[in-house]
């Protein structure tokens, strides 16, 4: 097969979604009033085509055996640094690309009916298209530099869709919370890129002999630790790992299909994807691999405990997602990379379907109860039974308070900063009133 064809397929898988998002955005900017059918058609056709070309590239590339590299050339250069936009279609990225495009298309078709007559119909589909494009940029990126752009788009669309119902204060608050978490953790990604350029001279993914796919590679152990920690930090935010995961249950403010695709299927699994791309670091550095497994393990345990006491279906599903992503990290840390890929895909399909079905819980529960012929039984082997009865109330309260992670972050980490700033504000006012001779009006908190 001609390599040019393969390259064209891979390039289309990234450029077509970007173009679709661009068309919708321009239409919105110039105030064109597109009908619901037209909007859905743009999204549907785009992602159906993307699925098809990505699948073609995956199948043909599999027979070809070599990774497909597309080079869009050098975009800018500053001193020693040059940004080349390259795409990489290999055994890891192409299956993910197909999978993500197909899911976005399906959710687009679903949302045509779900968001029918909703004021934000256009906005939702624009965000969905942009998100899909961001995912393709992340998945098919040839290095950390390029991946970063898609990563940001995914974060932005995620926050904007959490705040979809912006006429109520809570969605906006929770969207902001997710956004702040993302931004804090993005420091890790950009830091990793900088460090890789500093230590290796490039942040591109390279394929080592015997490795199934390309990845971040750092020859010396110290640098590997630093790059690894930064990448882990980046993936912890996106994948809601403990103790940063408090935003995840709060993210279910948007319309149900957006929750399904972001937090059941794709966005939540980008952290593990990044770590799969960091496989060489994990192989070369058992200590770091163990750390990844520990973070995942702690999150899984936390999610499993907290999820048991949640009483609303979306929180239940949020913590179930968190638990499984934690376990996927454990798998990656233990070197079970192919199993992790299978786990990601299976979990994404299962969970997003569960989220889409969540508004039918009452009907489903009634049918289940009728079929069984009695109350739906509670599990026999429950986590809490491993603990003595006297400890269980403590444990229950701990789970109900979600491990107090939120309270600690709010009152003792962020709160310290805020109190510090307020003290400075008071000082500032004292100073200005001393200067001006009149008491300055109080700044509203």
């Amino acid at each position: 097969m001609n390599v040019v064809f393969l390259q064209a397929f891979v390039a289309t898988a990234v450029l077509l979604p970007l173009a679709a998002a661009g068309v919708l955005a321009l239409a919105g900017w110039f105030g064109a009033r597109l009908g619901e059918r037209a909007i859905s058609a743009v999204v549907g056709v785009t992602y159906a085509t993307t699925t098809f070309v990505a699948a073609a590239a995956a199948v043909l590339g599999f027979f070809d055996g070599r990774p497909i590299v597309v080079d869009f050339g050098e975009w800018f250069a500053v001193g020693h640094y040059a940004f080349r936009w390259t795409l990489l279609g290999d055994a890891l990225s192409l299956p993910f690309s197909v999978f993500a495009a197909a899911l976005v298309g399906l959710i687009g078709a679903f949302s045509q009916r779900y968001l029918h007559r909703e004021a934000g119909f256009f906005r939702f589909h624009l965000m969905l298209a942009l998100f899909g494009a961001g995912v393709q940029v992340v998945v098919l990126a040839g290095g950390v530099d390029q991946l970063f752009f898609g990563w940001e788009v995914v974060g932005l669309t995620s926050a904007l869709l959490i705040a979809f119902f912006h006429e109520r204060p809570k969605p906006v608050e929770h969207g902001l919370r997710a956004f702040v978490t993302y931004r804090l953790c993005d420091i890790g990604l950009i830091g990793a890129a900088v460090w890789l350029h500093h230590a290796v001279g490039t942040a591109a993914f390279v394929r080592l002999d015997g490795a199934p796919w390309a990845g971040v590679h750092v020859p010396d152990a110290g640098s590997a630790w630093i790059a690894g920690l930064l990448l882990l930090w980046a993936s912890m935010g996106k994948s809601a790992q403990a103790p940063l995961g408090g935003w995840l249950p709060r993210a279910f403010e948007g319309p149900t299909p957006s929750s399904a695709i972001f937090y059941g299927a794709i966005s939540i699994h980008l952290g593990p994807y990044l770590l799969l791309r960091s496989a060489p670091l994990l192989d070369a550095n058992p200590g770091f691999a163990a750390l990844v497994a520990v973070v995942g393990g702690v999150t899984a345990l936390h999610g499993a405990f907290v999820g048991r006491v949640q009483t609303d279906i979306k929180c239940v599903l949020a913590y179930a997602s968190m638990t499984q992503v934690g376990l996927i990290l454990v798998g990656i840390g233990c070197g079970l990379r192919h199993l992790a890929v299978l786990h990601i895909v299976g979990h994404a399909l299962l969970r997003s379907l569960e989220i889409l079905r969540s508004p039918s819980l009452l009907q489903d529960y009634r049918h289940l109860e009728q079929a069984i012929g009695r109350q739906v039984p509670r599990p026999k082997l429950a986590l809490e039974r491993f603990f003595p009865a006297s400890l269980r109330p403590w444990l229950y309260r701990h789970a109900l308070e979600r491990g107090y992670f939120d309270a600690i972050l709010r009152d003792h980490v962020v709160g310290r900063f805020l109190r510090g700033f307020r003290a400075l504000d008071r000082l500032d006012r004292k100073f200005t009133s001393w200067l001006g001779g009149a008491p300055a009006t109080e700044t509203r908190r």
Binding site: R113, Q324, P359, S360, L368, G373, V376
Partner: protein, 989 residues
Amino acid sequence: MSGQHGHDHGEEPTDVAGILAHVSHYVPEQAPLHTFVHHNTLHAFEHLPFDRAVVEAAKLFGAEPYQSEAAFAAHLRSGRILSVDCDAVLADELDRDGSVQCLARQRRFDFRRTRLRHLFEVPRGPALQWQLHETGLFDRCHSSADAARLRLVAAWADRRGPGLPPALRLPNALRALWDRLAAAAPMVARPAALRGIRRRDQLVLAGSDDVDQSVHPLLIRLCAAFLDQGVALWHMPDRERGFLAAVRALYGLRAPAPDLWAASLAAEFRRQQEAGEDAEATILRALDDLGVAPDRRCAFVRDTLMSLGGWAGMMRQFETRPDRAPVQPLPARLADHLAVQLTLDAAAARQALRDRCGPQATWADLESAVPAAAEERDLELAFEAFVMAQVADVDLEALDDPAGLAAWLDEVRAFGELERRRCLHLAYERRLRLIVLDGLANHAAAPPPPPPAPTFQAVFCIDDRECSTRRHLEESHVAVQTFGFAGFFGVAMAWQGLGEVRPRPLCPVVVTPKHYVTERALRADEEQRWLEMRRRRGLRSAVVGRASREAAAGSLVAAVTGLAAAVPMVLRCLFPRLAERLSRGLKERNQREPVTRLVLERVGDERTADGLGVGYSVAEMADVVENCLRTIGLVTGLCEIVLVVGHGSSSLNNPHGSAYDCGATGGGRGGPNARAFAAMANHPKVRELLAGRGIRIPDTTWFVGSYHNTCDDSMTWYDEDLMPDARAAALEAAKRAMADACTLEAHERCRRFVSAPRTDDAVRALRHVQARAVDLGQPRPECGHATNAYAIVGRRERTRGLFLDRRAFLVSYDPAADPDGAILGKVLGAVVPVGAGINLEYYFSYVDPKNYGCGTKLPHNITGLIGVMDGHASDLRTGLPWQMVEIHEPVRLLAVIEAEPETVAKVMARDATVAQLVQNQWIQAVVWSPSTGVMHEFVLGGFRPYRVDSCVLRTVGASPEFYGGQIDSLGCARTAASFGGGRRTGGRR
């Protein structure tokens, strides 16, 4: 909650029990969603006239009483309200003082008339300042003044500034007028919002953080954990001991509490525990702690509970109606809830007080820290008066005089926004009332030829959705007679179907069933096999469903079966109808539901553990059958086949599914009632008894129970195998007729769905509604009661062949057979409260989807199997979702009762509930005399004859000719097909 100051009445109680009894009326009265029962959202205000009640409730809840003025303006533009409607309403309202000269030349009636024709937006606050300073407000006359008025104003301006250049005269005069109006405007307190009496409100005004932001998330978690019916895998410890005890035990633990606001909470809960305080003592103590004076307690508690009213209401539901708990009743008490909320509030408010005013601060310090409300001139009123002075036919010279100016401002204020909206609402209702009353009167005035003798009869529920089904049945099969009776058909039973876990009442909510009815498989071994198979399949899916939430099991499930989820994922997203067929096909491959028999007849005095009689005795059955047949007037001329059609609705993605079911069965599905009624009426001994009471059911007559699914328009038929073979042909014909009617019904429903195909092909429409019913992505499975507007109690002859746009509850009642009104009393006693409840719930959810309704469905999050929250952790949302009500026209139910006014007056004298709803005008009652044919509207104080407005009634062949291609509400028309005229069926089949 705003405007609480000065709202305290002397009669409000100060003791805890009294306070709780008082405030419990205000919390939402919505049961857990699985038994959604429509009720008047403002039930607690029914002792007041409607127009006063909506305003008082609006003040209390910060809600909207009517549609917005902008919405009414749109109705005026679209012709939904005509100006004659406004004039008629004003003439009614002002019949005494309409001609009062409010200013020279200007009668009050004329002023108000002009005002309603000019519904301009009055800018508020900064928007007003912007208009004043930036938009050239004084450069020219207001845009809505007509040409004649423009000339008058120009002449006036010329007279005032003869020395000025012409271009400056108008601006000069207008500005001078504005200055005078602004200076004369009365003083008002601003900002009016957030002057509540809770400590939280004062803290916010004093610049502190909102303590509800700390308390509510915890309180929501606690309420949800306590009331959970089966979502959580691990239940709240000790919840059997009650909410307060469980919370005390959990939060009195000596565990580190990183939340700063909750630092003192553990000690407080331990103190309560050790002192052995009951909820009442804790409430009093917390109120004292919060510094609430005894005379303020009631309002304080009400506002506190209403700040999270949905949860408080659900606690009360579990307290008063434990039988309605979906899975497990719990010892909930509103007092416990209040005790917990006040304890949390007190801890948080104390902490905030210390942060704001220092460690030793008292509540008095807080009160002094709250900035006083500023008084300022009411410029909004001045603006309105300013614009109206340019637009209305008022003598502008008279405004030079301070007395004239004040009178003008008073006049404008007296017809403020609320008053205008009230009048516009009346005009909006009037238009619809005229349409249907004229339609009825004209239809009756020229009676159509009688239809041919029926070959079968069908008894439906009175539901507005069956209104059109009946019409289509009569159009596609003229030889039929239809009746409307409340959809439980008088069979008030606790029903337990095969394999169901617990019985559920299938009767109106006000009735407590005394009979238990169940079903058994014909062959016991078949039943066992079927139940066993279902059980195994159920357990399997329960295990998988639960496992996906757990850690280890979840990863196994995800890795092993996750990929298989791709199949349902693709199908559910792209081909919902196919997906449902496949999944049903898989389930039913090996197992057909066994043939069953009702366990209906009671032998001896067998009773269930709850004391319900098992089944009915023959005499009781005869009573049920007699009551129904006499009420609908079907005592002679019974055909070979009499269908009894119950109804319900099934859909996915619909937490409010039960609100689409039959209201007369308390939000259940009426199939079993229809089946039981038919079985009773077919019982030989029952027929024997009835013959003795003067109702002779011929031996050739067979009653057939059936069930109409109003979502996918399918029919289910019961006990066909019991039917004598001789009736088989007649039943086949009736089934075909019903199938035709259902298909056309689907076609008519599709006209209201924007996303449905615009087609003449009724079968395609049927496929469309079938897909809607099984689509996970469909937030509008069907229209529900969204079109309800009328209830018509009387003979079907009066309405047969009249297109009523599926808006009417059609109740069969024969006034000739009921001289003393005994039957009418029973009918109205059931229909008026149920109809008004449905109608008013739609009304309030429409006019204020935020406060009375539960907003858009899209972010809804089912919690505890009892209700929905908005997204993550909000108050429990009550009322109806926007998708359910969006095509509703918010009018009060127009009940047209075919009876003499004296008979209705007698009924009202006997039935206080009906009387209250009619006299306080929660429904619009019209009495239609069967002897004279004159209609009387109920107005304040009595009945007033109605004069027909328009004598035109369009005649069409069949109803699709009339509704085809239309998407909005339609008026009345006569359909000739219902009498054998015109085309037999409209839609291509």
